[in-house]
Amino acid sequence: MRPDDIELPRTRRRIGKAIDDEVQAHLDERAAELVGQGMSVGEASERARREFGDIREAREELTRIDERAARLDQIGEFVSDLATDARRAVRSLARRPVFALTAIGTLALGIGANAVMFGLVDRLLLSPPAHVRDADRIVRLRYDVRNTTGARISWVRASYPAYQRLAARSDLFDAVAAYSDRALTLAVDGQARELAVAAATPNYFDALGVQPRLGRTLRDDAADDRAVVLSYALWVQQFGASENVLGQKIQLGGEPFTVVGVAPLGFDGEGGDSFDAWIKAAASTPTLSPSWQNAPRPRVVFVFGRLRPDVALSRATVETSRLYRETLADAGMADTTARVEMRSVIAGHDTDTGGLTPQARVSLWLQGVAALVLIIAIANVMNLLLLRAMDRQRETAVCLALGISRARLIRHLTLESLVLALAGGAAAVGLALWLGPILWGVVLPRAPEAAEMRGKLALVASAAGVICAILMTVAPAIVQRAWSGVDALRNGARGATRRASAAGDVLVIIQVALTVVLLVGAGLFTRSMSRLDNTDFGFNPARIIGARLTTSAAMDTAARTALFARVEEALRRTQSVEAVASGLSAPFRATLTLPFKLPGQDKLPGVGSGALGFPIAFAVSPDFLSTLGVGLLRGRGLTRGDNAGGPPVMLIDATMARSFWPKDDPIGKCVQVGADSLPCTTIVGVVSDTKRTAIDQRHYPRYYLSIDQTAPGLRDRYFFVRSSRVTPAMVDRIRATIAATAPSAPFVESFPLEKLLDPYTQQWRLGTTAFVAFGVLATTVAAIGLFGVISFGVARREREFGIRRALGESRGSILRRVVASATGRSVVGLITGGLLAIVLARKLHELLFKPTTSDAIVFVAAAAVVLVVTVVASAGPASRAVRVDPMRALRAD
């Protein structure tokens, strides 16, 4: 016996036939046997059927069994085919590691960049402060009022009576809470550290809906006047996350407090601030003046409220404004134009402008940029896939001719795309988890919780990976349309590729265009950053180390003055120190504003409108200006003789001299600084201008008072050290020197003065870094894409080049042909991208630092980079085209 060779697929009809045949064969054999035993044919057949049983019922049963088995087999085959194909796809990718790694790397960077940026945007724009319940109903109050000069100004704080009036309106708010921020020194085990403390109304946590991590929150009970709730971070850092902390006594601002609770991880205030601890705002709260709850002073507490769900924001605003005006009138500060504004506590909403913060806006841009990079990456991988598919055109044609199903081939290609996308996605998750926290650390004021962000990141990266996979399966579909099997067999690699190759061209043009856009963005931000870095502050902050010393509250004035002098002397003796000065405030940091009146004038000329701001006071030691390197223009500087015994004197900056005394010499003029009861202060010199920040639109004129003639009792003193070496070690040494000289001081810090600029320059730094990184990334990816397309084009035209060479065309001419065809695509991309960039650059302007028309150079530079990249990318393929052997090319196929 020999088996019948071909097993046909089991269709319903074939299954029925096979069963009939099998049963019939059985009956025939039995009948034949019976006939052999002497039975008549008819009888034998009848007997065989009877012995068999119910044939019809048997056939039905057998059919049911076989059909079910056939169905299961089909599913099993499909799965095993799929597994085989997937393995084949992986193997086939592994055989071309350069291709596979390029594709996976490109995707990983594209997807990773998106995930990281999403994390940032999510944090800056979408996420409410951690742990706050229904944050969209929490509003921060701001107060728009008229100041004494009549200009509109915006206050972030209100008086306590204003808060009380509001808190009584339960028809508007479910809860209203208030707090004041304090810097209090924490003393634990002989160590001291300054804490940002909120002195809050007891309902603070309840109003936000924040549950404590440990213990409880504050209570409206006099027993809680010395209770403190710690932030999670402080609990971990200072108390080792021990649960025994509850009930522990700590020294806060020199007074004993009892720890009653710990806030949950990640909660450090309802927005903007970063509190280490919360205490109850009680009459006896340290550093609050005893009368603060009754004082009409308009700027004492921050107020926020939880709007009732049934109250519209507009109505609440109108009502709250009315209440606020009543409070002002009660305090004798009637202002009929005063208004209250309600601001969201959701991060990224700028409480100053009502719009988005600069960081948030830059982040949004970068999210867009990241999306562009991803599009470029996907376009590139699709391109690579197309090229590879065309490369294998003949192989494919043979497969088709041999009867391997087209669907199976497409499935193979689709699986390759899928494997690439999944591998890219997986690599992207890793990349995002690694890079994300680094970037956020730079950009976000408060680092997000790692665990929570990791989950979101992985989710976003995976989702992006899936979207890539879907998009990339489009590539095989294009290939399928390009396949007409017979044609490909007949024409070798040259036929039937036009459609796929046109798709490749479009992808390259898109890549080039988007690359141009990114390069322009990178260029604009880089120029903006360099302008920022070259800002002339009027002195060189890079060479200055600042330090702050907080003395013990118990110290008397004479001892304090002596201590400050000793510190200054000790610093002067420190190695590498060139000059030392001291002051009550630091440039770039907090500013001191005192009443400032010119004799016989109601208003300061030009102040409050246009380019001039209200004068800023600096109370400094005589060496301050020389230490910072601010030049004296006229008159004399401050001297040791300008002390409490002498007449009050000051220096003013050039802008003030020019603005307030446009005609005459300011030297010798006397200005009323501070309370009217004080003697006026005589101007003795004019110094050059300095700036507070790089970005101020208006200039705030400076004047410098002698520190020995101002408030001697203040606990804090800033020191400024000019050094040839502003290194971390040096910064540390300055702190150590001060701490050694003032061992009982509760708080000493030191910092490079430039560091104080960071908050002002952060948005540009972020924009510049990210745009440049994305620009380089996009350029690289686009270059790979160009290289692939040109390479393939050359391979396709190999025979043409051979013929041309055979007909005597020079190598140079062929070289030009290849480069020209590459450049052609780039130029189309350049023009498209250039137009797009012009439109987008206009939108980007608001985020740039002093953009100028000379930024047009950036467009030229971007175009140049793209052209150079094009030529470089076409160099390899072009040299291959030149080396084509005419005879071999003609003999091919």
Binding site: M1, R2, P3, D4, A18, E22, A58, L62, I65, D66
Partner: protein, 114 residues
């Protein structure tokens, strides 16, 4: 044929596996083998035999294949697969233990029980 036994439910599959263990057989041959090997004691109903054959085939214990005999007759032959071999070994062992246990139980005299 009056003293033949009907094949117990569940043992038919074991019989089939045993039948094809020594080489491929078609349905009719299997029926004859069972009868012959059991010294004519066991009689398999044809209908039940084929249903069992197809069930075993669906379970991949045996594989059916159409063959043409030298005389030109077509028949569906069944052969034991790897799955079938394992199953046969397991069922055989199980059956031996079962028979031994049954034999022991039935040999116990009622007085010794309880």
């Amino acid at each position: 044929m009056t003293d033949t036994l009907d094949v117990l439910r569940g043992t038919l599959e074991l019989l089939i596996l045993k039948a094809v263990a020594s080489g491929p057989l078609h349905g009719y041959a299997i029926a004859r083998w069972v009868k012959a090997a059991s010294r004519e004691t066991l009689d398999v109903e044809d209908r039940a035999l084929y249903i069992a054959l197809h069930r075993l085939e669906a379970k991949k214990a045996i594989r059916g294949r159409w063959v043409t005999s030298p005389v030109g007759r077509k028949a569906k032959q069944y052969e034991l697969t790897a799955v079938g071999k394992k199953r046969l070994a397991a069922d055989e062992a199980h059956w031996q233990r079962y028979v031994a246990a049954m034999a022991f139980v039935l040999s116990v005299k009622p007085a010794e029980g309880v």
